[in-house]
Symmetry: C2
Subunit: 119 residues, 2 copies
């Protein structure tokens, strides 16, 4: 059986931005952590909602009609099909939950598409 | 569209222990917060894993063969079918994620079974 996951320790174990690392699974969902800095890419997920919980720092989830500003202990679920683009002026640490196989870049694809690396 | 969720604010808005409150949804999963104090009831969920993330305080997830001790920023996923019994000597605040319709008491039932109240 898996052991517990300390989010800060996992986040301290890698570098790189917008490259999520899988730290656990919940049924057929992946539990991942990511470091965000700068602006990601506009995308949507046609088949799934997208869960963001800020662990440290501040993350802005840009939507087409507004910005959602998240600090530590704040979460937001982007509904399926809704375009969004995360950005962070300073490095932010974020917990992500979405179905296994969901690409981080959604329908946008491109160079920022990450594998589902497990740490 | 739902707004963001501030976990501390949600947790400050109710009293009572081992009575989860739903604060959001992720596809067909519920995102809930709970205040734990004392010992819950031994149970398992035959059809789903069970996600625990400690927001504040300390939570012990007793398994039949060991205890998993969680502090703030630590998560554990109890695999489906595995008996567990959460306990907390002092009040702990916890984020839970599991499929909508999953009873908090799993296969045990009884007086501690909570409705899926949304706050």
């Amino acid at each position: 059986m898996e052991d517990k996951v300390n989010l800060a320790a996992k986040l301290a174990s890698f570098d790189g931005h917008f490259s999520p690392k899988v730290v656990g699974e919940l049924n057929d969902y992946k539990i991942a952590v990511v470091k965000a800095k700068g602006e990601f890419v506009w995308h949507s997920h046609p088949d799934t909602d997208d869960f963001f919980l800020v662990v440290a720092g501040r993350l802005t989830i840009q939507l087409r009609d507004r910005d959602v500003e998240l600090g530590p202990g704040e979460l937001f679920v982007v509904p399926r099909g809704v375009e969004h683009c995360p950005k962070a002026d300073e490095e932010a640490h974020v917990l992500l939950i979405e179905p296994l196989g969901t690409p981080n870049t959604g329908d946008a694809g491109g160079d920022l598409t990450a594998s589902e690396e497990r740490i």
